[in-house]
Every structure is written in structure tokens, then in C-alpha cells.
């Protein structure tokens, strides 16, 4: 269980998060939604211990700070939004870096590392790219490689900042399917989405507004809250549930 309570983060004078409670269990997929600047990425940073914060973050009942950085790296994996593209590195080398928390600084590459690498490449359908240089890939391919790097650690919790970025519709669908499968296999998933529709396959949505939790629940139940938060959006009822789309000023 990854649990945060009373979480607060300040950037200078600005409160980026205040009094946020969140709990995600193994096998559960929580989607974070909210307008730009509502604190979604900051919440991920705080859960990962990347920013100074008030409040408690606990992982399996122990404070996060009580774990070594290596233990944390084995349990939590992070996919940043728009990470840099390292020059002159091959896909295989980048994904292999995901094994660092298991290897440490001087450990050798072992059979289990190779297995995890293969799993990550297969899951993200990047095996065919393994020997390519990262700078020769398309935006969507790079995004899948970045996800493969996060998966290679075989973490208990995955924290993903806009994982559908740069992906075409088909690859968005595959990614959402992959996250669903991982959750069903017991991985806890926390993912930030810009497009509320991407939260469809998640178990639960947490809606952030100005650094606080505005509402929480299944996507279906939150449509009105979402429309209130995004004034330009409109909801369409479809046979397979509600869909939220950008309007163009006619609502």
C-alpha cells in the first residue's frame, strides 16, 4: 500500500499541494486528473520523495524516508513527462538502466536482469528497436522506451506522468491495456492524464484542483465535477458510457 496523508508542497510562496490524502493498493490503478497547475505532477514528485514536503508518505506501512534509495528504486518506478533524450544511447542501454536499483553501482548484469529487460521490451513492443539509437526514434517510440525503462525495474508501484503523451490512438489503446494488465497482475499504478477519457480503464479517479483533492471515485460518477473544472469541455453520452471532449464555445 502506498499511502499519503496531509501531503503539502510549497514552491517558494506558492502552495502546490495542500492537505492531500491518497492511498493506492497493489493491483489498483488510480488516475490523477486536473487542470494545468493543479498539482498532479507535484503529487507524483512527493510520493517519490523528489520534493521536500509536509505530511506523511508510507509504503507498506513504513515511512518512505525509512527505506534506502535503492529499496525505494526497486519498489517505485517513475515515468517523467517529457524526459530528456540522451544522445548516442541505444534503446537496450536505456532500458537496462531500469535495472540499476537491483544492480547497485557495481553489481553485474545477471540472468534476472536480462529477463526483466526482455519483459519490458516485449510489454512495450520495443524489441524491434533494441539496437536503435534513441535520437533516431519517433516521439511515440521514445515514450514507449521510457515506459520500458520504468517497467524493467519490475516495481510494485508505477508512477506515470502523462504516459499517453506522443502516442497515436492505437498505441494509446495498447498502453492503457498494458496498464490494466499490470494492475490486474498486482502492480499499483498511479497515472496522470490530461485527457479524462484515458482514465476509463482505471479503477478510480482522483480529481485535483489548485493543490487539493476536489473529488474521488469512478470516472462515470465524476463527469459533472470534471465539466465544472474544465469550462471548455462538454460531455457526450455514448452507448459505452460518457465521453468528455473539448467544445468550441457553444455550450
Amino acid at each position: 500500500m502506498l499511502r499519503a496523508s496531509g501531503l503539502a508542497v510549497r514552491y517558494g510562496r506558492r502552495a502546490a499541494l495542500s492537505g492531500v490524502d491518497l492511498a493506492v493498493g497493489p493491483g489498483e490503478w488510480v488516475a490523477l486528473l486536473g487542470p494545468n497547475g493543479s498539482g498532479k505532477s507535484t503529487l507524483l514528485f512527493a510520493l517519490l520523495g523528489l520534493v521536500p514536503h509536509w505530511g506523511r508518505v508510507e509504503l507498506f506501512g513504513r515511512p518512505l524516508a525509512a527505506y534506502t534509495s535503492w529499496e525505494r528504486g526497486r519498489l517505485l518506478a517513475y515515468l517523467p513527462q517529457n524526459g530528456p533524450v540522451p544522445e548516442g544511447m541505444r534503446v537496450r542501454e536505456v532500458v537496462a538502466l531500469g535495472r540499476l536499483p537491483h544492480q547497485g553501482l557495481f553489481g553485474r548484469w545477471r540472468g534476472e536482469d536480462e529477463e526483466a529487460l526482455g519483459f519490458a521490451l516485449r510489454a512495450t513492443e520495443t524489441e524491434g528497436l533494441a539496437d536503435r539509437f534513441l535520437e533516431t526514434l519517433s516521439g511515440g517510440e521514445r515514450q514507449r522506451v521510457a515506459l520500458a525503462r520504468a517497467l524493467a525495474a519490475r516495481p510494485r508501484f508505477l508512477l506515470l506522468d502523462e504516459p499517453t503523451n506522443h502516442l497515436d490512438l492505437d498505441h494509446q489503446a495498447r498502453l492503457l491495456g498494458l496498464l490494466r494488465r499490470l494492475a490486474d497482475e498486482g502492480v499499483g499504478v498511479i497515472s496522470v492524464f490530461h485527457d479524462p477519457n484515458h482514465a476509463r480503464a482505471a479503477d478510480r479517479v482522483v480529481l485535483l484542483e489548485a493543490g487539493r483533492v476536489r473529488a474521488e471515485g469512478p470516472l462515470r460518477a465524476l463527469v459533472d465535477e470534471i465539466l465544472a473544472l474544465y469550462p471548455g469541455a462538454e460531455a457526450w453520452e455514448t452507448p459505452r458510457g460518457p465521453v468528455v471532449l473539448p467544445g468550441w464555445g457553444r455550450r
Binding site: L50, Y78, G83, E87, M89, R90, P101, L105, R149
Partner: protein
Amino acid sequence: MPKRTWVWLGLFALLPLALLLGLSVGAVPLGLSQVLAGLAERAPVVYEIRLPRVLGAALVGAALGLSGAAYQGLFKNPLADPYLMGTASGAAFGVAVALLLEGDLSPAYAHWIGADGGLFVPAFAFVGALFAVTLAVVLAGGVGRTRELILAGVVVGSVLTGLTTYLMLRDADRVRAVFAYTLGNLAFVGWPEVQRLSLYLAVSLPVLWGMARVLNAVQLGEGVARTLGLPLDLLKFALIATATLATAGAVAEAGIIGFVGLVVPHALRRIGGGDYRFLLPASALGGAVLLVLADTLARVLVRPAELPVGVVTTLLGGPFFLYLLWRMRASG
């Protein structure tokens, strides 16, 4: 065979060739057999003058290539060089202060040119370089924030350069001595210098190479590197301290030699890729080859006089960057 293997084979083949070339070229040109005989018999020209000089060039070049690669990796900037954190201006300032303290300049100059292997000026240069980097790290509020570190390095560099200029302007002899130092010169490298340089490299090469994975992870962004388990503040401190040791040592013994630490990692990254497990040791070897060749050129270009080797590397580095620019424009 993978490209990196070819790079290794090439560098390992080039280094002994460059060293032999450096040994045979000079005021008295020697053939290969004469060089080998000179080494075997410990003949003064070969063994006391040329051998420490070419070895010194190799060690200084290796230190600059190595620390250049480390800084480029740490700052995720292919244009970072070993002097980014203020080492060069700190060392020049140290030299200016050393000459000031010696007071009587003509003997001081003689002392500096170090026919006796004097430690006074190199020690000041070394301390000056360490002082500049320490000051930059303190001003940046620790090693945590990379952008602040670069800015602080630039600030410290320009202030120290200003102070050095002020000290130099106090008399003409001093201008000459400090200016000669800033051009970089291997002419005064003897066995004691080679010993000290070997020591710096023996420490910095294994330590930095051991941290190659850290540099690889940093390329994914510092946030990701931390979530991969790396105690990054500690590791960044160790990286900066070690790269600074290598640079300060090189600068203290041979003055400020530009472009080696910038061009070598840059070129090797283009050929063999950006994996630092390859790039760090290859840049050390490549820097050694390049500086031995550059110093050989410095000795023959204006024979019977010599050019400071820093002038040669700068003259070689400029066109190399023009070539890169041209390549970038050609590929759109």
C-alpha cells in the same frame, strides 16, 4: 565488429605510434632505432627530456579528456569542458598570486619555468583551481542544482580572471609569466611532474569510470536518476571533486590547454555513442593521443622555436567545430 571495438583498437594502436613520433621529433631528429636505443641506454635527450615530455602530454591529455567527458555527462551538455567550473581561471589566479608572493620576479620566473621541478607555482595553481570550484559549489548552494552550478562557475571564473588581470597589470614581467602560463605549455614537464600527473590520473580514472552508470542514469534526467536509487547529491559531489582533481592537476603542471577536454569526448560520442562506460575511458585515451600529437606539432611548426601547445590545440579545435557546424547544417 561493433564500432566501439574499432575505436578501442584504433586508439590503442595510435597511442604508441604518437609517443614514438613525439620521441623522434625535436631539435635533433632521431630515427626509430635511435629512439629505441636511447630509451634502452637512458640517453639524456631521449630519456631525460623527451620521454617525460611525451608522457606528460599523454597524462595531461588523458586527464582533460576524462574530466571533459565527466563534466559533459554530469551537466548533460555536450559543450561543457573541464574548465566549466572555474578551474582554469582559479589556476591562473593562483599563479598570479604565487608570482606576487615571490616578489623578486626574475628568479620567480626562472623558478616557475621549473627547470628544477619546483613545486611552488604548480601548488598555487592546483590550490587556486580547487578554490575556484569550491567557491562555485558554495555559491550555487551545493551540488543539487545543476544550472546554478554552471552559472556560479561562470561568475567565479570571470571574477578571478578580473583579479588575475589586475595582479598582472602591476608589472610587465608578471604579465609575461602569467600570460605564458594561460597559453599552456608542456616544455617544462620532467619526471617529477610525470609522477604527480600519474598519481592524479591513477585516482581519477578508476573513480570516474566506476561512476559511469551514474552518468548514464543522469542522462535520463536527475529526477529519474534519483528514482533509480542513486544517492545523487553524494555522487555528484564525488564526480565534481574527482573531475576537478584531474583538471586541477593537469592545469597545475601544464597550464591551460583548451579544446582537448571539449573536442575529444564530443568526437568519440559521435563515433561510438554516449554510453559513459565507453566514453570515459575512451576520452582519456583519445585525449592522450591528441595532446601528444598536438605537442609534437607545437615543437616542429615554427622550428627552431616552439609554440605553446595550447595555441596548437586551439588552432585545431576551431576548425573541428566549424566541421561539426557544417555537418549539422548539411544534415538540416
